[in-house]
Subunit: 213 residues, 2 copies
DNA sequence: AAAACCCTACGTCTAAAAGCGTATGGGATA
DNA sequence: TATCCCATACGCTTTTAGACGTAGGGTTTT
């Protein structure tokens, strides 16, 4: 295997640096470049094309899904591995759609990472075992052929405010809308996210990065 | 400075290993021991007393606050530094109460960590700048001298169910209580956590580790 | 023994959320 | 052009949550 440079995109510096130290000794890693978020990554990649990217999902400014979509428009054969704390369906389905070749949980070992790299740079995929379990499960309970998610901009905005503790009335005032409009957005949010109440909406928002804990 | 062993307590293996790689070269670090959660840590510390502990807060089985309280009962002079993703008041106040000597955010640099270690092992404290800001702010808005938090066992249980999306009625059935009792617990939860509605409760629960994302 | 705290439980009232349906104008898209 | 999706908005009903208050029986702490 030829050696190549690796990009680490994650907003937590300690994690980036630590992972960098783990990767540096690997024989096929020639260089490591760090980015704190998707936007910084898109800037740094110009004239500096990596062989592999480890991409966090939840990041400020620009998250990993957006960055993945954008960078693959320009470099369609780039190997991207998503990094996440959570084996959450919403995450890996979106990242797979975005074009990521692998999905690793942050509680993996460095041996797993090494195996992942070998697979991914040779054109294959790699998914943490927990993710594979999740994928199989989600295939089994696929009663509805309809896709549920993908919120509209307004829905995300309303959801974000809900997580901040605002009531529909308050959100309406904030966004200059009728209270009944916000009611409707909330109704659609419950439907799309498959939640049955506010608690479910908040959990969804955090998992999908719309709200931060 | 004499050299000493360092414990890393965090449920994310990659983070542990990475931080370990960063710490290993430091001259005063003689050995690194990893634990995946508070319980494992308490087992491993027997006959293996470290000079310093980096303790994650959100962990399964036993979280960082509980582990800190317990280990300090036995080794009151142990230096413990909390590690967290979030500069959240609930976190650092609890960890400070528990007896931690420092609080670092996971987006710190290894230089910060080194400074932190120097301070803490010499008996001083260390807090990330964001934390210090938060502490100052919280002092400024201290209208109420009353302590708000510390939930009872029942309250935590109810809160946990709320995060799972259960209504009060359903929780009552689940725990064999009157619906009105659960109403009351929920009311007290709002009061103690300073939330104004369900969304706030869920956010609190996640930050404090009562619910997992 | 007294005080403090916890868990349980009830009553009443208002506000908010949730579950339905309908509808219109605008923009993108097929 | 016709179709689809989005954002906007309203009506109606039921369920749930939130804001007060009170109170007994139990345990733990002082």
């Amino acid at each position: 295997m030829e050696s190549f440079s690796v990009f680490l995109v994650d907003d937590h510096k300690l994690f980036r640096e630590g992972l960098g130290m783990l990767l540096k000794p690997l024989p096929f890693v020639s260089e490591i470049v760090e980015s704190a978020n998707g936007e910084e990554f898109l800037r740094q990649i110009e004239g500096h094309k990596p062989g592999l990217v480890f991409m966090d999902i939840n990041m400020p400014v620009m998250n990993g899904m957006e960055a993945t979509v954008k960078v693959l428009q320009k470099y369609p054969d780039l190997a991207i591995v998503a990094l996440s704390m959570f084996a959450e369906e919403e995450y890996y389905t979106r990242m797979i759609e975005a074009g990521a070749r692998g999905f690793m949980l942050k509680n993996s070992s460095i041996q797993d990472v090494e195996e992942c790299i070998r697979n991914v740079v040779s054109g294959h995929n790699y998914f943490s075992p927990e993710i594979l379990d999740g994928i199989l499960k989600s295939i089994n309970r696929r009663q509805v052929p309809v896709r549920k998610n993908e919120l509209t901009g307004r829905e995300e905005e309303v959801l974000y405010r809900i997580c901040q503790g605002y009531s529909n009335q308050e959100i309406a005032a904030l966004l200059n809308l009728s209270k009944r409009t916000v009611d409707k957005h909330r109704e659609n949010l419950l439907l799309k996210t498959g939640s049955k109440n506010t608690a479910g909406l908040v959990m969804f928002a955090i998992r999908s990065g719309i709200a931060e804990v």
